[in-house]
Symmetry: C2
Subunit: 403 residues, 2 copies
């Protein structure tokens, strides 16, 4: 079996953790598997390097930032190869140049174009565990690129896809994907498996176990992902195309407390106003999520929408600057809101899920501010203070204790 295993920075932050990871890889190797390991930089290395760079030049060229940051992963892969060798396991570390992990040229936000297999296969055939730098690539100029936050997950999936790996294990602090955040919902359960689409919805909604890009890529190439804990041997959660006839109605409940709501009061009720408003925001790269439009007084209407909290200030400024042209009488914003969602592939063929969710919220007296839906998700905007209570109520409704 060919297994790609990815470990994040906290899993290799010191000697003990490195030896722990080495022993896990040794186990798979001794069982006769071909093993490829993808690593992030140790602990806070990347943040430390960013601080060092900013101290010298706060506007450092992105090309040089990538050149600098890429050393973090090279350090961890070399040390891991040494650790495996100390256990008597032949191992070799490879950086993006050596593998041939070709990306686009966009420094700090590169995307994979092509991954060469010659060197990888050569080393695997020679009986070695191959340890590859996550997060980085090389562009057509032979320059180092990085993939942005969460890039190591994407590296692992790209390697698994290229090598037709049997599975791609992503090791994290948690031991799988849960039906809800176990810190809030006591009886949350670990899912045995979840579909790519459900995982994407969960990830977007704040259950940040996997980076979205890696899930998208896994879906595209049919790579079976396993989300596991690096600290115990628990089986984890499979992420793959689930073709059960009876799909789970709801796989999980997720919440996102990083939302802000902006309300535009008294916008002139004429064609094209909404377009102008959201066009203005998108030009400033502000992502708008939920949108609600309601009839106002006289010949005006009210438009509300949500953005990530860190973009709220910026959004309000942009709108204020263009207030006259956009015919906005008043702008309100509030950050004491949260998005609560139920996600489930079974929803597609089942009506009544929304009703059931609204009922659960009504039962505990939680007010719904806005609603948005996708094929496999229903999201409501609620007051921040209601979040935990609402989450438990919705989880109990859809995923009651099994015994």
């Amino acid at each position: 079996m060919l297994i790609v295993k990815k470990f994040g920075g906290s899993s290799v932050r010191d000697k003990e953790r490195i030896m722990n990871v080495a022993r896990r890889c040794e186990k798979d190797y001794r069982a006769g598997n071909r093993v490829v390991v993808v690593l992030s930089a140790m602990g806070d290395t990347t943040d430390d390097l960013i601080a060092k760079a900013h101290d010298i030049n706060p506007n450092a060229p992105k090309r040089e930032m990538d050149m600098l940051l890429s050393i973090g992963e090279q350090e961890s892969v070399a040390l891991m190869a040494m650790a495996l060798n100390s256990l008597g396991v032949p191992a070799i570390s490879l950086n993006a140049f050596q593998v041939g992990m070709h990306t686009t040229s966009a420094y700090s936000a590169a995307r994979f174009k092509r991954v060469d297999t010659d060197r990888l296969v050569h080393e695997l055939d020679a009986g070695k565990v191959v340890i590859v730098t996550g997060f980085q690539g090389v562009n057509k100029y032979d320059d180092v690129t990085t993939l942005g936050r969460g890039g190591s997950d994407t590296t692992a999936v790209a390697l698994a896809a290229t090598l037709h790996a049997d599975k791609c294990e992503i090791f994290t602090d948690v031991d799988g994907v849960y039906t809800a955040d176990p810190r809030i919902v006591k009886n949350a359960r670990k899912l045995k498996e979840i579909s790519y689409d459900e995982m994407l919805e969960m990830a977007t909604l704040g259950a940040q176990v996997l980076h979205n890009r890696s899930v998208e890529m896994a879906k595209k190439y049919g790579v079976t992902l396993v989300v596991r804990s690096s600290l115990n041997e628990s089986e984890g959660t499979l992420v793959r195309e689930v073709n059960n006839v009876e799909k789970m109605l709801v796989s999980g409940v997720a919440c996102d407390k990083n939302a802000a709501r902006i309300a535009l009061i008294g916008v002139k009720n004429e064609p094209g106003v909404a377009f102008k408003i959201f066009d203005e925001l998108s030009r400033k790269n502000i992502n708008v999520d939920m949108i609600l439009q309601s009839v106002g007084r006289d010949d005006t209407k009210d438009i509300s929408f949500t953005v990530d909290q860190e973009e709220a200030k910026n959004a309000v400024e942009v709108l204020k600057e263009n207030r006259e042209r956009l015919t906005i009488q008043k702008i309100e914003d509030e950050v004491n809101v949260a998005k609560l969602s139920v996600v489930g592939a079974g929803m597609q063929s089942n009506s009544g899920v929304a009703t059931k969710m609204f009922e659960a919220l009504y039962d505990v007296g939680v007010n719904i501010r806005m609603i948005s839906t996708s094929e496999i998700r229903i999201t409501v905007l609620i007051d921040l203070e209601d979040t935990d209570r609402a989450m438990r109520a919705v989880h109990d409704k859809f995923l009651p204790d099994e015994d």
Copy 2:
């Protein structure tokens, strides 16, 4: 003018030093020169990485050590590119892969085979200062190699040779090559220039301003070296082929306190014994320097030689193990000795230099234990406690104050 400038680890150990180097490079760039900069790893980075590796695996594979150590220089070149950019100077960092610094495969002790110029010339033509990682290369497997201690000097000379640079400046803690160590000999003078061969003899003898390999390479390709201080604007010392009709009789006085003397008493006086002794030592990679053989009592002889102090213990053990076969009656070793040398290309055509040196030592009552000579060097072994006194006396004899 095309200038290659090399700065060691202490010259880039923190932000202040990095900015200082950046400003020096800026000056050359603004004056219209094409500038290539070679850097070592910051401060103690290399030693820190070695310690980290040894903690995980005291017998780490050399390939992985090189993979690990090479990140040190990549860090300093990226930060230097950022520093120059912050001064408004276009700059780009390149590692050994990107330049194409091809070496032999010997990890931790690689030698340059070929240096590509395409990328370097492309970036110089684009008006950029090019900053290259010292100390490292890439072998035919696309693996990272390192050149061993002092390797960054060699990188600088290799680049200067390949690019036909007008000069190669090596920046150090001292501001040039002196006629003797100024800490011991008060009236030591900085040399304006010195020949490659003299520099090689000086370097071997403990005046470790330049790494020998870099001087050998500079001689082979006719690269003009300049040894300068990174802390002041002083002119430094030129190292190049000196074709003066009147060569300086003596360019400098050097001493090496890292010597140990081993005496083998009562060795059987028969053919082949000396060969067997030194063959045994060379098999154990112990380098022998000065050798003296004297007639002993009866049919025996005494053989003395010097080795570096760290090899003395090892040498004695090897000889003890083979004592009977090598017919050695007694082995003595002492570390309280030092080698004192005068170096000068003018010696070749001038007799009497040795006599003059011995006279100087006699005048101050210093006993000579052993003598060895090359075409441009005379070395004597003396007691360690006599070193400073002897050095001053010899310096005064050959290089008296000019006024």
